[in-house]
Symmetry: C2
Subunit: 146 residues, 2 copies
DNA sequence: TATTGTTATACTCTATAACTATA
DNA sequence: TATAGTTATAGAGTATAACAATA
């Protein structure tokens, strides 16, 4: 499938191209899985919020979206009661968001239910857990590399 | 980070959850890379078209989107001259799409240029090419498993 | 009647530009 | 004047429902 005699750089480009396609397609497939509680965007934001209450700007930065985007996501999350907004008493411009009890419960439920689709596929592939974990870690490294 | 004493199934779920998050985030990051020629959606469709001229329905199926979605994507691709539509002479309902010369050139250019961002990150991770290729193959397996 | 593709409509996610309130 | 966040607006990507043309 891949260039056999390429240099390391060439192989990298080829692998990068494949990675790009597969990630995009997997993401689309995941997006298509019915989300009854929250969209992937909302879940991702909530997972970030869970790691520690954040300002809206910090959250936008962590999620790599522009502030107006996060304003919207947070507004929806608040609307449905999954997060709460705590205005900073020191600096009235700032709002901190944290998970509500509902939000925590939902996230927990998600972890044991919403990933079932992917987990099922993973099991169907008959892939070694160790290889899979390694692949995930690799992707996380790529993602977090700055 | 992960449950240490969990059963295989539990670990799978955890890994699945992490995979889900990282794929979604990577996809977003990739989407955010400036696309001067075509969006990831368009590129993905073109890559599929390249493997053989397809009907619009076949293309929608291959890309796992609904027909109206593909109608739109194809309309945009045709508008900018990256593909051509060839009406089937046997069955006038059917239209086959294939890459235009421009489309082929663009796709080729993409393969050596548009994945540079990802390739750069991959190199920065100092990850072994073999591990990376294995991870990509694993993702492709997950994606194609039916 | 069944199939292929399109049009109409709507929702989510995202962005940039312009604005408000506060520091 | 600078910063945090919001509002206004727009575009891409996606879906479902209803339709037209053809088989």
């Amino acid at each position: 499938m891949r260039t056999k005699q390429g240099t390391a750089a060439e192989i990298d480009m080829d692998t990068a191209a494949r990675l790009r396609l597969v990630v995009m397609r997997l993401a689309r497939r995941l997006r298509q899985q019915a989300e009854f509680d929250a969209s992937p965007t909302m879940l991702s934001a909530m997972a970030t919020i869970e790691r520690g209450p954040l300002t809206l700007g910090g959250l936008a930065e962590a999620e790599r979206v522009q502030p107006p985007t996060m304003t919207r996501v947070v507004a929806r999350l608040e609307e449905v009661g999954l997060i709460t907004r705590v205005p900073d008493p020191q600096d009235k411009r700032v709002a901190r968001v944290s998970l509500s009890a509902d939000g925590k419960r939902m996230l927990a439920r998600n972890r044991s239910r919403k990933t079932a689709y992917l987990a099922k596929r993973l099991r169907a592939t008959n892939v070694a857990e160790a290889d899979l974990a390694k692949a995930v870690e690799l992707l996380e490294t790529i993602l977090n590399e700055d």
